[in-house]
Amino acid sequence: MSVTEVGSGMRSYYGRPVLKEPVWQPEIPWYFFTGGLGGASSVLSLVARVSGHELLAQRSIQIASAADAVSPLLLISDLGRPERFLNMLRVFKVTSPMSVGSWILAYSSAASSVSAFLNTIGRLPRVSELARTASAVSGAPLAVYTATLISDTAIPVWHEARRELPFLFGSSAIASAGAAGAIAVPPAQAAPARRLAVGGVLVENALFNLMEKQLGMVGEPYSKGEAGKFKKIAVGCTLGGAGLLAGPARRSRLAATVGGALVLAGEAAVRWSVFKAGFQSARDPKYTIEPQRERLQRSRTAPGSAEGSV
């Protein structure tokens, strides 16, 4: 009755955030990137092997194992108590995407490094192949679960994008793996890698815009502040790199290297943009309060629900 209803003037406690910003450090967006690169490269390596692209298969598993080797270091470094990192493997909880992801990463890391090692020294080809297949099996989940991890939080810009984020991260991972492959093999043998990079970039850009549009007001951080800055970098780098890979990179190794590097930089910027958007989303209480208020008002105007406590 006498309580002012929320209209344009949202009410809050001295403008302070309702949610806590994540405590995650720069290691985490870099891990989103290396996890995507490693995961998709494992898959790429297996498909290349099966379809007879030997060199691409070999280089991709090396890229995957390198990325999979860096990833756990980044994660351990980010912990508040790094010396307790093994506690991650103390339990297995499906309600915790981080728990599931830790197991996926441990398995994938082991498989890709065994395969890359044996492949490089040219010993035990069967074991190497088995390990490659094993790492390819976990590759796609590794590239995608980080999106589920951040969706499974109270941060509006992440949680409300739970349907788009896994596809965004997946396409970004494909673009990264393709770009890395296009750098690592001569142009004549890199056609599938270039196609993956270009296709991945196009799908990723389309999904990013779709996600932003679907989020509406909650998606504002993507056009503001650091998240907005990283998004601009991402669009410029990915599209520029894809242009090079689609054209001159077919003949020129230099163009392939520059184009691939641009795509890799752009896909890293995608992860940074998403990461930073989460902080901005938590910092401003309006992203938390306004959608909840609207939800409440919708349910109050729905028939059969009377709220008379005001």
Binding site: L19, P26, R90, V91, S96, S151, R162, A191
Partner: protein, 301 residues
Amino acid sequence: MAAEPTGTPYAWPDTYGDEAKERMGFFTDTSVCIGCKACEVACKEWNLVPDDGMVWTGESYDNTSTLGANSWRHVAFIEQDKPLHGDGDGEVDALRWLMSSDVCKHCTHAACLDVCPTGSLFRSEYGTVVVQEDVCNGCGYCVPACPFGVLDRRHIARHSGDPPHEILGLQLGKNEDGRVWKCTLCYDRLKGGHEPACAKACPTDSIQFGPLDELRERASKRMEKLQAEDWNGARLYGEDPDDGVGGFGAFFLLLDEPEVYGLPPDPVVTTSHLAEMWKTAAVATGALVLGVVAGFLGGAR
């Protein structure tokens, strides 16, 4: 509003069997809070919660500002040009000063507990949500998972005299606490048959401790009284077992909308969408594999 007692004396029988206790909680009745902050002090003293600096905020009498790793009770102060009762009945200078002692909600469906990858966060035999500090490795997942922003990582050197913490760099064993901390509902005191320190210290019984069913009954009676007396904006917050987190173990009687106190108006546990999120991840995983295969269709151009 009047929550029916569930009739079950054991809150978590499936987990604890014979060792399960009645579900215990807080009812914080802000209509009698006088803003003395005895709860904040008692909590810090009993739980050895460290000092985390002092800032004059200028926000009424509140210099704690928010719950966090080093503040497990937080008294909010709100000054309003509004009468306490009804429309003021011709009061010229209508003014009210709202005070509310905030705390971890010990949700029935607790996001922090669900997402914790180490099992450090657990449900006690009293139905409360507690962090095991000897297990927590400071991954920080619970921090953005909590819909109330209760949990935070503690940034304080483990021992006085430790060198300052380097955030970057791959060194193991950082020289700071690094773990997350929050209200335990004084798990140790409960084990000894005592009420939590904040409730014990509260001079007006604004913080009431007891079996949750009993508290809900008491709260609904109190609400009836306040409504009869025409208190402005009185409402219960978090007492409804059908809300987005399945009801709070620590719920409130507020005198204005939750957001005025810095609380979310309609909190929902993020894991209520978990099945949908895993399904989406599975589809995206399949799409990724198909996408890579598609890249190999076509010639060598």
